[in-house]
């Protein structure tokens, strides 16, 4: 499993470095590791193999990366990787050979897939958290893939801000959870209760709700439809939005006993299921219908999982499987229609069932699966959900059953409307009502013109449609897999099964009622109701909220980051000095003695004298030299203490600094500017404060230290570690590079960050934008991208890019613009 991860990373890096040189072959390269993961997952599923991988990477801190492959995680891994492979195939059809940015897209897609695969198999909270955040970031990059498109950028930012806030909630939730059961693995969490458990439950549910686009956090998902359709088919159907569902499933054993868990989870799920379905009924963009439908379906899964009954868990897992298969296919069909007709607006599409028969067939199968009609996989899954709701008691039964029935009726309705709107003859344009206002071009009865078919664009959705059908035919096998996965979450789930023909049970009758009512409603809405794209109030509100935060941040930053370097230094020093206050009470003058060596007195006098001189010198060069002499005198102090390594390092640092001063001084005036009296006084005060603080700290620390004599235990231990394990005789250096190498690694990372900070700050000021910090400047300053040449737009092949942009803005921020 570990080498699989390495394979992912290597392929990702290779494709990223190749740029556009590989063209569409990039997708073949990125599909390879996904395929490998899918095969491993499938093998583990079939053989019911479980595997654990643990890598402890910092022993002292108990930091462990752990992954587990059991029935549940391998099922999810199979979905993530398997659909990933199909999406790669689909992408080769979606993008044309000449599209710019294909390599970047493919690499980001694989990076996302890796993060998602890592998320589903992770076994410690922190491993999961890291992958969780990685999915947020990679999905941000994928949604904003069209860098020049303003709508896509806004949508990407909205998605990032919402999902990343959820990430913070997850962080807090994990801290609370792990405080109760330290070091626990996700696979074997023990139930916890109490105040902290309640807090953890709320935080984790909120995190799940942001990721899985639950009301009221759902506003990012419709906006994310600005992404190229392969992204929507992958992230927004099968994978990323399922991360919240996975989280709820994983955390339920631990937090399911808290009083808040079930009510809050069911509320999120129920509201989302109904509101998402209503949203889907209102949209006119085929892709947005699918997006809102996803919100609704995810609501059902979250509600079922947070119920905590084994039957509901079993039903939720069945729906996870069924949904991944049918929703990815539906997105692919929408993308194909978009590429071949240039529009996704159901008011403009007509007659496609004759001109695109394959897509029509796929849609009928998968949409029927979505609606829960036999003989497709969605039917037994929906049936299980109804069964689970019927199995509840009291008020819970009433609420959940009402929501599932109501939500399912709406689901059937928007499915029917989607089918009629996309493939029917001019539905939704008011044909039946004879509305005179609709007799414009929009209402012509001519079929929408269609471009030539592309096999790679259709094949993956056909595969998924066949899987929807095959899942029903081979239901026994699917039941086995789903049951194994559910048993991991809840051992009591092993008694349940999915049925092809359940008989005339209550659940079946309810299903029949749902399909009948929903179908009628859908046909009515599709043919009788005049459609207008709804306003995106929630999305607008969240965008303006983000803008307001940015404005406030600018104001605060302008105050705090005033740009005066002496001001910064004074603030930092004064604040740091306060840290000495607690040590005032631990001073013990009895520990003090004059010196180890008389030469130290001389050196100390020299240092003090030079320090005073440094404040009196008028020229900058003089000050630099005086400072340098202080440094060399301190080197002398190290010599008297017998620390040759410190001496060498200090000597070199001082040399570089003094010569460096000379370089820097070339750009400044030769003397210090005149300073006002107040400023001078405040500097003296702060310096005295700092000196006092350092003295206090040093005395306090020396009072506690028992200086080890040579040959005592600590020296011996370090020597033993250095010579035997590190293989060197210089204990200091071996400690640096081997015994405490992690500290050194941390320090050099600080060096790296400082150096990069210097480079980016000075380059920005001098306006020197050469190619190697191109990406950095894009991130810092998004307006830069507007100046990029228009050939960076990466629309689907064969579509005129302006048309493409227009329909994408329909999906993103300004649907009203398209209706005008």
């Amino acid at each position: 499993m570990f080498w699989l991860f390495v394979f992912h990373l290597v392929a990702c890096t290779a494709v990223m470095l190749s740029g556009d040189r590989l063209g569409r072959w990039s997708f073949a390269v990125v599909a390879a590791p996904m395929l490998a993961s899918a095969v491993v997952a499938l093998e583990a599923l079939v053989n019911r193999r479980s595997e654990d991988l643990t890598a402890q990477w910092v022993e002292g801190l108990d930091l462990t990366i752990a992954a587990r492959l059991d029935s549940f995680t391998s099922l999810l891994l199979l979905l993530v990787s398997g659909i990933g492979v199909l999406v790669c195939a689909y992408s080769t059809g979606y993008f044309s050979a000449t599209t710019v940015g294909v390599g970047r897209f493919a690499a980001t897609l694989l990076a996302f897939s890796t993060a998602m695969a890592g998320l589903v198999v992770s076994d410690t909270a922190w491993t999961m958290f890291i992958f969780w955040e990685l999915t947020s970031i990679t999905s941000f990059l994928l949604v904003g893939h069209k860098r020049t498109d303003c709508g896509a950028r806004t949508a990407a930012r909205r998605a990032l801000v919402i999902t990343a806030s959820g990430g913070l909630a997850l962080l807090a939730g994990f801290v609370a959870l792990l405080d109760l059961s330290p070091g626990a693995r996700l696979g074997t969490l023990e139930p916890v209760t109490g105040g902290w458990a309640t807090a953890a439950a709320i935080l984790i549910l909120v995190a799940a709700a942001t990721k899985s686009a639950q009301v009221p956090f759902h506003v990012w998902l419709p906006g994310a439809m600005a992404a190229p359709t392969p992204v929507s088919a992958y992230l927004h159907s099968a994978t990323m939005v399922k991360a919240g569902v996975v989280l709820v499933a994983v955390a339920a054993p631990a937090l399911g006993d808290t009083a808040i868990w079930t009510p809050l989870g069911v509320t999120f799920g129920a509201v989302s299921m109904v509101w998402g379905a209503i949203g889907a009924l209102r949209q006119v963009d085929a892709k947005l219908i699918m997006a809102w439908g996803t919100v609704s379906q995810l609501g059902l899964m979250i509600a079922l999982l947070s119920l905590g009954s084994p039957k509901a868990t079993f039903a939720a897992i069945s729906i996870v499987v069924a949904h991944a298969v049918f929703k990815a296919a539906l997105f692919m069909v929408v993308g194909e229609i978009d590429v071949r007709t240039g529009t996704r607006d159901i008011r403009e599409l007509r007659g496609l069932r004759r001109s695109m028969p394959v897509a029509f067939g796929v849609t009928v199968l998968t949409a029927a699966s979505m609606a829960g009609v036999p003989p497709l996989l969605g039917f037994p899954a929906k049936e299980a959900a109804v069964e689970a709701a019927l199995g509840l008691t009291g008020g819970q039964r009433f609420v959940v059953l009402a929501v599932i029935i109501g939500g399912s009726i709406l689901t059937v309705a928007y499915t029917a409307r989607f089918l009629i709107g996309v493939f029917g003859d001019g539905a939704g344009a008011g044909v039946g009502t004879g509305d005179a206002a609709d007799t414009g071009s929009i209402c012509s009865t001519e079929p929408t013109p269609v471009k030539a078919a592309r096999p790679m664009l259709a094949a993956p959705s056909v595969v998924l449609a066949v899987l929807s059908l095959g899942g029903f035919v081979g239901l026994g096998w699917v039941t086995g897999i789903v049951r194994d996965a559910s048993v991991v979450l809840d051992p009591k789930a092993e008694v349940y099964s999915l049925f092809r023909w359940p008989g005339l049970t209550d659940a079946f009758l309810v299903s029949v009622g749902i399909v009948a009512a929903g179908g009628a409603l859908g046909v009515f809405v599709a043919t009788r109701v005049r459609n207008a794209a709804p306003r995106t109030l929630g999305a607008d509100a969240s965008d303006s909220g983000i803008d307001q935060v940015v404005v406030v941040a600018r104001i605060v930053a302008a105050r705090v980051q005033h740009g005066s370097l002496p001001g910064y230094v004074m603030t930092i020093v004064a604040t740091a000095s306060l840290a000495a206050i607690p040590f005032l009470w631990s001073l013990d003058s009895g520990d003090l003695y004059a010196w180890d060596h008389p030469a130290q007195a001389l050196l100390a006098i020299f240092v003090v004298g030079a320090a005073i001189a440094a404040t009196r010198v008028r020229t900058r060069l003089g000050a630099a030299l005086v400072l340098g002499s202080i440094g060399f005198a301190i080197t002398g102090l190290f010599v008297t203490s017998g620390a040759p390594d410190l001496v060498l390092t200090q000597l070199l640092v001082e040399t570089v600094v003094v010569v460096g001063f000379v370089v820097g001084l070339g750009r400044l005036t030769t003397t210090f500017p005149f300073l006002g009296g107040l400023w001078f006084t405040s500097r003296v005060v702060v310096s005295a404060l700092a000196a006092g603080a350092v003295t206090v700290a040093l005395i306090a620390s020396s009072g506690r230290l028992t200086i080890p004599a040579p040959g005592s235990s600590i020296t011996e231990r370090l020597r033993a570690e250095a010579v035997d394990e590190g293989g060197g005789n210089n204990i200091v250096n071996v400690v640096l590079t081997d015994v405490r190498a992690l500290d050194t690694l941390g320090e050099i990372i600080v060096l790296l960050v400082v150096a990069l900070g210097i480079v980016s700050l000075t380059r920005r000021q001098s306006g020197d934008d050469d190619s190697d910090d191109d990406n950095g400047s894009d991130l810092e300053n998004p307006t830069d991208t507007e100046n990029q040449p228009p050939d960076r737009i990466t629309g689907p092949a064969g579509t005129d890019s302006s048309e493409r942009d227009e329909i994408d803005t329909v999906g993103a921020a300004q649907p009203e613009a398209a209706t005008a």
């Binding site: 990477w57 060498l648 570089v656 750009r667």
Partner: protein, 144 residues
Amino acid sequence: MIARRSPIVQLSVRAATPLALIVAVYAFFAGHNRPGGGFAAGLLLGAVLVLRTVAGLPQPFRPIPTLAAGGVVAGLVAIAPILWGDVVLDQVVVETTVPLLGKVKSGTALIFDAGVTALVVGLVLALLDGFGAEQLSGPAGVDE
């Protein structure tokens, strides 16, 4: 100030460069058993680079690639042991006999140290860049 270049300074810095290089290499390898090591070697090289800037001589490296190389090398050495199931930064010690030098003992810590050296050199270069050293070492020189 630095713009009025002295040929004596230029020549001595030019002559000092290979010497400092040798000392840096010595310090790098000596670090295992005596004072020295990757950080010291990096500072020695850094000092030479600063002197070259003062003398108006061209720099052999650019900061970003040097920093990147150092970070990647140190990071890879840190992560590599995980591949073989050890903990992060676990080091492998190799002992061989080399002609002229006799018995040589070394470990992967040496590669890690090389990364440190490159990072320190990169930091010094970045600082020089930040000070606007490019203008200072330009052909004409600007007298401020």
